[in-house]
Assembly symmetry: C2
Homo-oligomer: 340 residues x 2
């Protein structure tokens, strides 16, 4: 955890900051972040008051001793640190997407929903396009983000099929598809159930934002993988460092390898979950992290990395039949941003 | 390869382009890229004259049929698509680094040398800093890029040790270290030889740009891993998609997992190898890719991805003792940018 302490301290040397912003300056999971904050406080290196974190005199001496300095922030402001700008063409798509998304169903607790920013969805579509993957058959496993709508608005994908457990969302997507003549079809389907035969081995690409427990990830990825045709097919998914520790990532990477996939990209903090009226911050009083920090969210701190994987072997889902695990899908001891 | 064809065609719809620029619009290895170019030419979808690639009428019809369109480029110009800008502090470091690097030894064929741009080296230092890894003990395996100098110029690392097979480079680094009072020590050392005992298990971080054959990568990574203290330590290295196919990446990722590491980042095209007087493009007549394309390089097409890995288990190098493999270190059938 020395590295995490360094990340926190090298930010605090430049001045005090809110605790949610501080999350964004370090790489550990929320669970570990809280532990490090406690340790730094106990050591007298920092103090926290009303959610504002400040370095102490002792902390400054410690930094002097360890050669910890503040050298600034390097994230590019033109592209929010993602490396991708929204092109003129996609600005039009973004406009339409935002107009449509206004009427989206609210994120609800029951299914651990939450959605990334409109700009993030568009960047994801751009990234899929850049890879040469957009004009293909696309399968979306869980679509709180309305990725299906954004990609269909380009008119490029050959076919888009969405499955989601939430009937409200499925109805919304199908209604939008009808109204705007988009080639999207959406079905109510629980990832705990085996994929219907007619969806198996039919797609070139899958896209998902899995819940971040190991059983949950296994299910979301396996359903995506089951839907792919074969070698050369790819998957795109989000994963945080906040609710998935490095140990969990290690296990996920083992699973990906076993399923026959190479990881071609891991883009840190590619997506942000904005604090919007309909997003999961609505029920922040129920989020363990908010309870533990004791202050309301005042910064868009919940970000996720974008993974891209590609099948170099015949794709082999790690779960094939039904697997009913109920709430273990949504919660483990690292799920500190999941309401309970 | 459908995806790669799409990438190539969706670029060409917007107009003809040089063949080296075209490499930069697609994800395949050079070997595969050449195969796809041949296939597209044989199908009559493109034509190539004097290194300029153009789509044909038949190609346009094909794109119409497959819904392949040109939607623009999305790479952010403020940060060269990396997501990282060079901060004011690092602009000073960059200036000094460039001044020093003017006198660097030329890249030579014998050791398959080549170096990334000065800006790329600085971005890599920024990234290491951002991860909280800069103020630690850093081990550099092979340092054509002079990463050791750039990081030492910040005055932040606790210790930097470089090994390289090239005496010219070692002498240069030691001379610079002396002249500028940098805490860098460099030693002549061949990665085929077991690491000296006093370098083992001593560092927190390793940095390398391995050659891209599997035996070569095993050696470079193993020496880096051998130098690390334990769990929580990290490694940074470059890897291309150009001389390392997805199958090779898959094998590398298996090796990383086996050595006890999780991959925390894969940043596509984070680094570019510029066409500069002293870089490996000097002997471009000897590069297989240049021979096959039949035209001189006119675009900075050789880019590499930045990997970051972190030990979640006790680091276990896949090669521990000596392993003498001679030219297999440098060349395999994918090494089309390696002189022979």
């Amino acid at each position: 955890m020395d590295r995490i302490k360094t990340q926190i301290l090298q930010r605090l040397i430049s001045g005090k900051t809110g605790v949610y912003e501080l999350i964004d300056w370090q790489d550990a999971s929320l669970k570990e972040f809280l532990e490090v904050l406690t340790e730094l406080t106990d050591l007298g290196l920092i103090k926290i008051e009303n959610g504002i974190v400040e370095i102490t005199e002792k902390g400054l001496e410690f930094c002097e001793d360890k050669n910890i300095k503040h050298l600034g922030r390097f994230q590019c402001e033109c592209c929010e640190g993602t490396g991708y700008v929204i092109s003129d063409y996609f600005k039009e798509i973004l406009k339409d997407y935002k107009e449509i998304a206004k009427d989206r169903p609210e994120a609800i607790e029951k299914y651990d929903q939450g959605f990334i920013s409109a700009e993030g969805v568009i960047r994801r579509v751009e990234f899929v396009y850049e890879r040469g993957d957009l004009n293909r058959k696309i399968f979306v496993v869980g679509d709180d983000d309305l990725f299906s709508i954004a990609s269909a608005l380009t008119g490029i994908p050959e076919e888009i099929v969405v499955i989601d457990i939430d009937e409200r969302l499925i109805n919304f997507i199908n209604d939008v598809a009808k109204k705007y003549s988009l080639n999207v079809e959406a079905f109510v389907c629980d990832v705990q159930r085996e994929l219907p035969e007619d969806l198996k081995r039919r797609f070139d690409v899958f896209v998902t934002d899995p819940v971040e427990t190991i059983p949950g990830i296994k299910l979301f990825l396996s359903r995506g993988v089951s839907a792919l045709k074969g070698i050369g097919c790819s998957g795109y998914f989000g994963l945080t460092t906040l609710e998935a520790s490095r140990e969990k990532w290690y296990e996920i990477q083992r699973i990906l390898h076993e399923m026959g996939f190479v990881i071609t990209d891991i883009r840190r903090k590619f997506n942000v979950y904005p604090e919007e009226e309909k997003n999961f911050f609505r029920f922040q009083d129920k989020l363990p992290i908010v309870k533990k920090l004791g202050v309301k969210v005042d910064y868009n701190w919940y970000k996720s990395c974008l993974y891209r994987i590609e099948a170099v072997k015949e794709p082999k889902p790690i779960v094939s039949g039904d697997m009913i695990i109920d709430e273990k899908v949504y919660k483990d001891e690292e799920s500190l941003a999941t309401p309970y």
